[in-house]
Amino acid sequence: MVSAAGRGVDAAWEALCKGKSFLALEAGQGLAGFAPISSARCAPIDPGALGANRRAARIMGHQTHMLLAAVSEAIEKSSKDIGGEETAFFAGMDSLDPGESDLVSAALAARKEGGVDLNKFYDEGMAQIPPLWPLGMLNAIGFCQVAIQFDLRGENGTFSPGPEAAARALIEAAESLREEKARAALAAGVSPAVSARSVARYINRGFLPASSDGNFPRPFSGAGAAALGEGAGALLIEPGKGAWTGGAPVMGYLRGWGRATALDESDGLKEAIGDSIGAALASAAISPGDVDLVVVHGAGNLNEDAAEAAALLNIFSARRPRALATKGAFGHLLGASPMVDLLLALRALDEGVVPPSPGVGDMARDALEFSDVPVAAKMKTALVLSRGFEGNCAAFCASAA
């Protein structure tokens, strides 16, 4: 996993347990001219340190670096020789933006007083654009670079954009095992890079506020503002029997999953969230009473948080399972969000600790029990919620090893 806390699940877990938030107001770093905006960026990652050769690394961007680092950790931790034809690989690749820095030479060659000289662009500028610049906008290219690096030649798929793409990747990975088309499957998700384009995109979409007063997104607080984070998550999953006999450390079990779509986001979201949870519980053959921990989606947007709180209250009533909200710490990781939340859920089950949820408000406290400090708790089963754009909802059930 990669997050603003650094590389590795350990870094994110320790930061979370300390109640840290990595969200900060920023106006520089390529965001000149925008009102200050809150985000949580990942530090640059050196692909060479992850074994990428120089030629391959030259055409990788930050998003690919994050994915590479997350997959690298997942494979290292499996302690197995993963790769080849029997390893499937599915990833949710969030929006990829044009690399403007690659255009500077072309822009300089084509500029004239007060504008752009098209002939100069065609004659001189174009040749200075790296050949893979337009192709680099294909989300599949970063995915393929990672597949090459780790020799992942089995079943595969690349979905985009948003959290729903990562949720789909995880479901497809699990299905490929169930259908016995792979012996192991990597499921990964990666966020977009925080950039001027991504900020403009999400402001336009109404997902980000046009400016921020420094109040970090506070899930279920009614403050009504999300914030971007950068990160990636990857899980290596195997059939339970195979993992035991293969000697790999088992970090947890993926028990079930469910998806549902709200056709009318303003009205049907509560039902879709409830339907996705119901489907996940049913496929895991458990009841709401079996859920010990809920990792909420909690994006920080007012209406969506209200729908999620209502759906959870409907399902859990007054039982109030323990809960964790991560977006106040790492921002909204979009295409990485469900993977990162699932990894942290598995860690919480393993450690028997529920970390605090930075900035979480009161809207869902009737249904869930958040804490302000790390709380020791014996837990077996976690429910992880994810919500994408266009009303796409997903839920995953996981249990301790």
Binding site: E85, L103, L132, M137, A140, C144, G154, S160, A165, R205
Partner: protein, 436 residues
């Protein structure tokens, strides 16, 4: 070999290609060995070494557009408009309107959204603010770009990978599961394969599946030009795409859309839907080799083809025809030939193989779907479409490529290959519907 218990059939298909605005006209032109490639009209390619493409006639798009879909056009790229039109045809065939429970109809589309084009780049270039000691120091003034309207609100939607899926789902009231696939030239084939899985898993009764792409623009071209992947030497545009021919020297960019309605067999029978064919199996893989090159022995292609056969419970002896990826690049066609020999052994030389791209060009994210439809329609008509412009046999590509003329042939099982730039591969095993 055992076949999957839950069978998935095709109850409708539609397409839009440089050859025609629907399946019948596209197939009729193809069976005559006609080419849809010509000089580019959609943008000025004057400074580029490749000046040809397979363009879809605007009149065909406009003629097939539903007035009720006009509200979706502001979100739609040219490729998505073609997908809407193609889906109008496939949904019409399948009588999709008759299905009352719309939550059991899903959508899976392979597509890649819109590239920023020259006008958008020019708007960006105007916002370069030099500063510092060297000419390369400075910054882009994005806030000015944003405030000047240079970052169009709707650009967000048109660049999204999932815009095609969302627009089709909205346009045809498909409320079931959705998937947006972005695996380059394998995307259309993978979308059909993912739709097959969703129906088998019981997540949907019917799926609209396919792919669309329109990248005939300066930005769509120049990356491939710089990589020397596009054809640069040709006598006429119509003779430029020549898969498996010794004088092949690159692919021809094209545009189009292919849409299939996949349906669970019992569901289709219960509502007496027309059954046009069957999707028997799907295999996918990654080369995990190099971004710009296929694996020289076609290891990923081999894996995908074997996966599709195994998934469908089909033996190599049952395959009657291979609808090749056949791009007309030196490497692809040689590698695909090698891979077919590896999978089929001594049978490879006895199986007819042809490339629709010789006539249609390379429709990128649409290719897998368009070619699957050609293959299904060919089975229905008992005709195998040719590889045109096959004039100079390549000693290294020595299989039966159905040169230049349509071949009448009863055939029941087809493999349709799609191999994506970067190394993702998909193979579909398709069958003629032979009853229960």
């Amino acid at each position: 070999m055992a076949r999957p218990q839950k069978r998935v059939v095709v109850t409708g298909y539609g397409m839009m290609t440089p050859l025609g605005g629907d399946v019948a006209s596209s197939f009729d032109e193809a069976r005559e060995g006609k080419s849809g490639i010509d000089y580019i009209r959609l943008f000025d390619p004057a400074k580029l070494p490749c000046q040809i493409a397979g363009e879809v006639d605007d009149a065909w798009i406009e003629a097939r557009e539903k007035p009720s879909h006009r509200k979706l056009f502001k979100f739609s790229t040219r490729g998505v408009r073609m997908m809407l039109a193609a889906t109008g045809e496939s949904a019409g065939h399948a009588r999709l309107d008759e299905i009352a429970d719309r939550s059991r109809i899903g959508v899976a589309v392979g597509s890649h959204g819109e590239h920023p084009d020259i006008p958008q780049m020019i708007q960006l270039f105007r916002q370069w603010r030099p500063g510092g000691g060297s000419p390369w120091e400075g910054h882009w003034d994005f806030s000015e770009l944003f405030n000047s309207g240079g970052y169009d609100f709707l650009q967000f939607y048109r660049r999204k990978i999932d815009v095609a899926t969302s627009v089709v789902a909205t346009g045809f009231d498909a409320q079931g599961p959705t998937i947006s696939v972005c695996s380059a030239c394998a995307a259309g084939g993978q979308a059909v394969g993912e739709a097959l899985r969703l129906i088998r898993d019981g997540k949907a009764d019917a799926m609209i599946a396919g792919g669309c792409e329109s990248a005939i623009s300066y930005a769509g071209f120049f990356g491939f030009v710089l990589l020397t992947a596009l054809v640069e030497k040709y006598e006429t545009p119509q003779m430029a795409s020549r898969p498996f021919d010794r004088r092949r020297n690159g692919f021809v960019m094209s545009e189009g859309a292919g849409s299939l309605v996949l349906e669970e067999l019992e569901h289709a029978l219960a509502r007496k839907a027309p059954i046009l064919g069957e999707v028997l199996g799907y295999g996918d893989s990654a080369d995990a080799f190099r971004i710009t090159d296929m694996h020289p022995k076609g290891a990923g292609a081999v894996l995908a083809m074997r996966g599709a056969l195994a998934d469908g419970g089909v033996s190599i002896d049952e395959v009657d025809y291979i609808n090749a990826h056949g791009t007309s690049t030196l490497k692809n066609d040689l590698t695909e030939t090698t891979a077919i020999k590896e999978v089929f052994g001594d049978r490879a030389g006895k199986i007819p193989i042809s490339s629709n791209k010789s006539m249609v060009g390379h429709t990128i994210g649409a290719a897998g779907a368009v070619e699957a439809i050609f293959a299904l329609e060919g089975m229905r008509r008992s005709e195998i479409l040719p590889t045109i412009n096959y004039e100079n046999p390549d000693p290294k590509c020595d299989l039966d490529y159905v040169p230049n003329e349509t071949r009448p042939a009863e055939h029941r099982v087809v493999l349709s290959n799609s191999f994506g730039f970067g190394g993702q591969n998909a193979s579909l095993c398709l069958g003629r519907y032979e009853g229960e």
